[in-house]
């Protein structure tokens, strides 16, 4: 069965589509809470303001009936299951609402033995996309208000989930903004590239939101917080900023699932996902590795082949 062949390409995604997913999620969440398959479900509840949503852990049937899915459900919920956010998984099996990009993060965490598949009940969402930053939230998703990462999404279908909510629908004719931006930077002369990133990194205020929101930044102590010896300067000065962002990109290389949460939460609008994507592209070219929806034995930087490329080594 070819999912690509019978997908639905439309110019706008109406609230009714999200409503259908909402119903399916509620039905499933109520069911698994009732028969005690799970102790709780990590999902989205309506935010206080209209057109928003906030992540929530629901443990009762009444709460589960309030779960929603809308284009405002931007968060990657897998971060709540990691060691960095202690607690949720201690009590038993947990349900989680996951879009395609979130499932890649879950798969990555399973690869790294941070999660066990049998501890999870994954309610997959056939996600057509979510809102971008600072756009008009009308309830309808169109080319004008879709997030940058969703323009090039390859994981609309949450394959490997326990249940999937929704039918395959996606917006037609989206321009790949990030790929274009990456090609533009690649084509710059070296000095201009440096100036481009220097300008972006010099704005960084080192709030560490990118680290806090990342499902893969679960280290108990971050290398960048250590001060004996100090590897990366911790104050928001240009030198430390550059080092922090390079170290971050390097530590996520071969692990990042591409949910672009780092870029979304960045208060200074640093295009962090470009770095992640560049690393992913390189690992694809060199070692044919792509972050997928199912766990693998080892990530690309944790394994090796004897005949790996070494043309850059004398």
């Amino acid at each position: 069965m070819n999912a690509k062949a019978n997908k639905n390409q439309v110019t706008s995604i109406e609230p009714a589509y999200y409503q259908a997913i909402t119903e399916a999620i509620r039905k499933e969440a109520v069911q698994i809470l009732k028969d005690e398959t799970v102790v709780g479900v990590v999902g989205y509840l309506p935010g206080r303001r209209k057109g928003t949503a906030s992540p929530a852990l629901v443990t009762t049937v009444e709460e589960a009936e309030k779960l929603i899915f809308s284009p405002a459900c931007v968060n990657n919920l897998s971060v709540y299951l990691t060691k960095a956010k202690k607690g949720v998984l201690k009590q038993g099996k947990v349900g989680i609402v996951a879009k395609g990009c979130d499932m890649r993060a879950l798969a990555g965490l399973m690869t790294e033995s941070q999660l066990q598949r049998e501890d999870l009940f994954i309610i997959g969402v056939v996600c057509p996309g979510v809102y971008g930053f600072g756009v008009e939230r009308t309830g309808t998703l169109t080319e004008a208000n879709i997030a940058r990462k969703c323009r090039e999404c390859t994981v609309h279908m949450p394959e490997g989930s326990d249940v999937a909510a929704g039918t395959h629908t996606e917006l037609a004719d989206l321009t790949p903004e990030e790929a274009e931006e990456m090609a533009r930077i690649e084509a710059m002369p070296q000095a201009e590239r440096w100036a481009f990133w220097k300008e972006h990194f010099s704005r960084c205020i080192r709030c560490m939101a990118c680290r806090q929101v990342c499902p893969f930044c679960y280290c108990e102590q971050c290398l960048c917080d250590k001060n004996r010896p100090q590897a990366v300067e911790s104050s928001p000065r240009p030198a430390g900023n550059m080092a922090w962002h390079l170290v971050r990109a390097m530590h996520l290389a071969g692990r990042c699932g591409g949910c672009a949460e780092c870029e979304r939460v960045c208060p200074m609008d640093i295009p962090l996902n470009l770095l992640n994507r560049r690393m992913a592209q390189e690992l694809k070219e060199l070692y044919d590795f792509e972050a997928g929806l199912t766990p693998v034995e080892k990530g690309p930087l944790n394994e090796y082949k004897e005949n790996d490329d070494q043309s850059f080594i004398k």
Partner: protein, 177 residues
């Protein structure tokens, strides 16, 4: 039979991260064999190339290195079986990242030098030193080190009308006097 000492305008600082089992022994061999190579290189000994974190390279550049050399055992010869294989993948990725943010990769050299290859060590070090010498000092990371977030506003030579690009900032700056 010392080679004639030539005086250069610029002596680059080269930091070499080497593995203790192969390249360090190789460099030692070059020394005991009385081979001549540029004294610009500062050798730092590590247990294995697998121990060399990319952050060391960043730090070397920040603290004033004009070139960095990373050198270890040939593939298959690692004392710890696979350290250099892992390092090879890691540095391949790191090179791509550095290139993406605009660092000239000619300043960063990787090599395999075994304990028997004193001559190769001399070649690698000489070539890197001469290459970096023609390229001149590496300003990028060093400049960052001395910059403050607001340093563009503090310099007396800076034209403030172009730097202070919003009325609020300009007003705030003027009120400081």
């Amino acid at each position: 039979m010392h080679a004639e000492h030539i005086k250069h305008d610029f002596e680059p600082k080269i930091v070499a991260f080497v593995c203790t089992w192969c390249t360090y022994a190789g460099a030692d061999l070059a020394g005991t064999s009385r081979m001549q190579y540029p004294s610009n290189v500062r050798v730092l000994k590590f247990p294995c190339t697998g121990r060399i974190d990319p952050v060391f390279i960043l730090r070397a550049f920040q603290k004033g290195a004009d070139g960095v050399l990373v050198s270890g055992c040939h593939p298959g010869d690692c004392h710890y079986m696979a350290g250099n294989f892992h390092a090879r993948r890691r540095f391949a990725a790191f090179r791509a990242l550095l290139s993406f943010v605009g660092v000239d990769l000619n300043r960063l050299q990787f090599s395999w030098v075994s304990a028997a290859e004193g001559g190769k060590w001399v070649d690698v070090v000489t070539e890197l030193t001469e290459r970096v010498r023609t390229m001149g000092p590496m300003p990028e990371f060093k400049e960052l080190e001395h910059e403050e977030q607001w340093s563009t506003f503090a310099g007396a030579s800076v034209d403030k009308s172009t730097v202070l690009n919003s009325p609020e900032l300009k007003e705030a700056y003027d009120s400081i006097g």
